[in-house]
Symmetry: C2
Subunit: 210 residues, 2 copies
DNA sequence: TTTCCCATATGATCGAAATCATATGTGGGA
DNA sequence: TCCCACATATGATTTCGATCATATGGGAAA
């Protein structure tokens, strides 16, 4: 297995261990470009890969930003050519899963296919959740929806990354997030642990959501 | 096949034709509830199904709203129990794809599995695009990004549904969409066909996107 | 034909989030 | 040890989208 321990990728089970090729990509360099024949799909090991489409009016549209552990270009398995550029925002390493090899293994190994279907299903679920949160208009609603999702069935949301990153995911600025957290706490809707890494949701009487 | 022609669903190829069960769901009634043993996944034939999770603080969070032709609860194939409620916003009919049957057919038929993987991959792609658009802060940027996606490689975006629906997808009110369209046209960034169903993107000099 | 609903469209006002500024604490690296 | 970078935090001001109001035209239904 080529993985030397420096990466963060989780095993997708898409191919036999070690069959993925590891590529280093300089900042600003491309993993693939639009119209290139599809070579396969990828997983970010470390770094950040931006998927960009060039529109007819000359402007670029970002379709996705893939971070550590995320897969991208999954649909290329079923296309002849890529339909966007994949550019490294940072110096990155990516794992390449060869298209023909993957298709062969998926066809031959139903369990592998099932794992991949499960992986994609979870992606769809998570993305729909994010879209739902972004559909809420007020910062308070978005933050509460996010915290409720984090908390799951329990009453406590654990915060595992900087609020700045969460602010971006919620489509808000970090200033608004800090302010809104303070406001929600003043209103007794949440209770922040002193360490700031866990938040208790308190039953509300009055507000409505979604 | 039970489909009597009244529905709008496209064939998913998940099961042999006719193996899906058609269910009628009254407005406000549930297709399934949280903690129910998973029976399978679903496709909206006609109507609108809302996926809702109940948080610990007693509030409800909408995870997704599935419309005509869309699938939902895909991940239930790999779970013992549902993790949210599926409630009909409108009187609806849905197709139920039995879990055990689907898993059997996916395992036995690699081509079927490949089709399903392709379907999920396209979903992921589309949702990531929507998230990227919702990540833009200004109405103008969102609208232009949307139009560029519609246009693809060509210079003309075809509008196939009411602007009100598009406004919702973009996380904007329809008023802002109409105003922004007018502004973009005044600025010569777009050119609306008189019939209002197609929009030409004009090369810009000055603005940057994404 | 007449009516009604809805998409399209635009104006006025308000409020919430973005922006710009600034401060503190903390952890890591030189 | 001393910085420096960054997360956290809050204040002041501005801007832009939400909201409410109103108008018109077209298509479906009565």
């Amino acid at each position: 297995m080529m993985n030397d321990g420096s990466g963060t990728s989780s095993d997708l089970g898409l191919l036999p261990s070690g069959a993925a090729k590891r590529l280093a990509v300089d900042q600003g360099a491309s993993v693939f470009l639009s119209e290139d024949p599809t070579r396969g799909l990828f997983q970010v090991d470390k770094g950040r890969i931006r998927l960009v489409r060039h529109a007819a009016d000359g402007r670029a549209v970002t379709l996705h930003v893939a971070r550590d552990g995320e897969t991208f270009a999954e649909a290329s398995l079923f296309a002849e050519r890529y339909h966007c550029d994949a550019i490294a925002d940072l110096p990155s390493t990516v794992l390449q899963f060869d298209k023909a090899l993957v298709l062969t293994h998926l066809a031959a190994d139903p369990e592998r296919a099932a794992h991949w279907i499960a992986h994609l299903s979870r992606q769809v679920q998570a993305l729909r959740g994010q879209v739902a949160v972004l559909g809420l208009k007020s910062a308070g609603d978005r933050l509460l929806a996010f915290l409720r999702m984090q908390a799951g069935t329990g009453g406590t949301a654990v915060i595992d990354r900087p609020w700045k990153a969460i602010a971006t995911e919620l489509g808000l600025t970090h200033e608004v997030v800090y302010r809104t957290l303070a406001k929600l706490e003043r209103e007794r809707l949440i209770l922040r642990d002193p360490d700031g890494r866990s938040i208790e949701l308190r039953p509300d009487r009055s507000r409505r959501s979604s």
